[in-house]
Amino acid sequence: MANIQFTELAYNNADEIIYGYAKKPVVCNNGMVIGGGTVYPEVNLTLPTMLISEETMPKVLAQYDEMIHGICSKAHELHSPGFIIEIELLPPCTFNPQWGKDVTKVVKGVMDEYSTKFGQKSLLRMTVVDVREGKTLAHMYKGEHWDNVINTFKGCAEAGADFLAIESIGGKQLHDEAVMNCDLPKAVFSLGAIGCRDMGILWDEIVKISQEYNCIPSGDTACGFANTSMVMAHKNFIPKVFAAIDRVMCAVRTLVAVERGAVGPDKDCGYEGVYLKAISGTPISMEGKTAACAHSSCVGNISASVADCWSNESVENIRLLGGMAPTVYIEQLIYDCRLMNGATTRGSAKEIRDILIESDKMYDPQAYILDPKVAFRISGEIIKGKTHFERTKIAAAATINEIRAGFKDGLLQLDAKELKYLDIFEKQLKAIPDDEAEFAKQILPMCTVDKFDPAKYDFNVAAK
């Protein structure tokens, strides 16, 4: 089993980091290379409101069939050099691994049809839902929930998925509590101690399955973590600086997938992918303005600046005036990519990248920390940490410093409330002891069992 420790950045300087190119491109069987110079559209789609059951499965599959036909035919019509389809399975399709497999089969079948008929290249990313939560969860690594996740991965892989992915949720309940209370130490614990450990165990399995079925272990995202903070900050429920710090801390967690053998492209909704790319050279999928169908964003353009795939996050199969929504969104993504790739051909990719960066970075600390120059500096600090716990702490500290400096230099707008919280978080962070076991002993009594049950995680303070 892989266990890479990244102690150097993949890039020599920030200016090297650019969309379409990754230091470690992913070469696929059909000739598509992710991170090899071309940004590919990655379209995400989901069912409209409907019941998923044994009985409705034919309808469910018909929905997927319709969506993929629409997408493939539009991509062909618009001369897309290739594209990626991501299916984030809905919970019933992970609780019933066979259903997840059936969905994969239908989707891949249509993609193969267009490949055979028209030479239309495409790749399928199957994202299994991490169902390891809820009242009936007995254990994170054995029993029904774990088995369903693993069997769904196997089913998808067997049915033809090109990439396997997940938005893993180990430690999420604790993190939710940390977000609601803006409790940075609890966030550090849930990410740097619990989350990273959980991902190690989970991704060892996913990598094993990928090898077995000859598909590609792509990556994870902090969707349940930093995206929760992002949404809360967007609603003005918590300070934006918390969301920005949380995002960078999540990079340490998301990177664990790569340490364990994932090779990318990292998943779209993990904006921490910028850090992943800077540290490990892994290609990343990103989403921004063209994911407004799924959520509003303060990083609509900057998120594209170093993306290797460009995604719409998720859209339901509903009808817009111009057609079914998934077809509408593949069109928008294709044109976005044409623009970026066209610039690359003309030698002006760096100019476009810098325009994309400048578009957003000033307005929000969450955008600011996606500037590859900032990410490069912070990443350089992160890799100095010896453990995930230490790296998570460093990530927070370095982010606070960068945000403060950005504000001081007039590169970033922050109001008084945000600045006040920067001080608060700095204080919270300093109170965290350097020794992880000591920290765990301090913080565990503040965690109720319904938010984090050490037994279910085989979590042992002394052993850490």
Partner: protein
């Protein structure tokens, strides 16, 4: 008359020690316990709710205020005559069966507490029967159902249906919310109302509870 300003401010600032000091001061000067709660503690919390609504306070701050308020209420409670109401009504809240999303529902609960309701938060993945049991046990006036997935919103319908079957439908108002929910959907499944955000939920509950009282 006792000046509640300092007590209210202590709630607004989420300052437990100061709340404790001021509540004790009020108790010692024989202020009516219900007034301590309504004017001092809930009075402060109302300001918090208002400020949160206009983005003047963050959630963690509201939670600190709520904790301070609840601590103050606990101090006063022993002095209340049995049966005296310390709240505007009881709301049973939970995320419906199959859905594990916690935060949105918790925010609604928080805002309801701000406004003086007793909130019984059942948590996530709550079966229809559990809602019914909780409504009976707590004499709840309102059931607030949350769902974030298009696949689980249909559990809301089952919950409404079970309330009918169990014969409690006429005793409770049922409201629904969450990203995929619409007024249309609420009407379809026979709910009494829909709210698009936490502030809307508070208004809706107030309206429904007033209607019930008027019956």
């Amino acid at each position: 008359m006792f000046d509640f300003t300092e007590l209210s401010n202590a709630v607004i600032e989420g300052d437990n020690a100061q709340v404790q000091a001021k509540v004790n001061e009020a108790i010692n000067t024989k202020v009516d316990p219900l007034e301590i709660i309504n004017q001092g503690l809930i009075g402060g919390m109302n300001v918090v709710g208002q400020r949160f609504k206009v983005n003047d306070m963050f959630v963690p701050e509201v939670l600190m205020s709520a904790r301070a308020m609840n601590m103050g209420i606990e101090l006063v409670k022993p002095l209340l005559a049995g049966g005296e109401m310390t709240n505007k009504g009881t709301v049973i809240i939970g995320t419906v069966k199959g859905d594990l999303h916690d935060i949105g529902k918790s925010l609604v609960g928080m805002m309801l507490e701000c406004t003086g309701y007793k909130v019984v938060d059942l948590g996530v993945d709550i079966a229809p029967e559990e809602f019914v049991v909780a409504a009976r046990e707590n004499n709840g006036q309102v059931l607030a159902l949350s769902a974030l997935l298009t696949t689980t919103m249909l559990s809301m319908k089952s919950t409404v249906d079970v309330c009918v079957e169990e014969g409690i439908r006429n005793n409770v108002k049922i409201i629904v919310g969450g990203a995929p929910i619409t007024q249309e959907f609420a009407d379809q499944i026979g709910a009494d109302g829909y709210a698009g955000d936490a502030a809307g939920a508070v208004e809706l509950v107030s309206k429904l509870v007033t209607e019930m009282a008027a019956r």
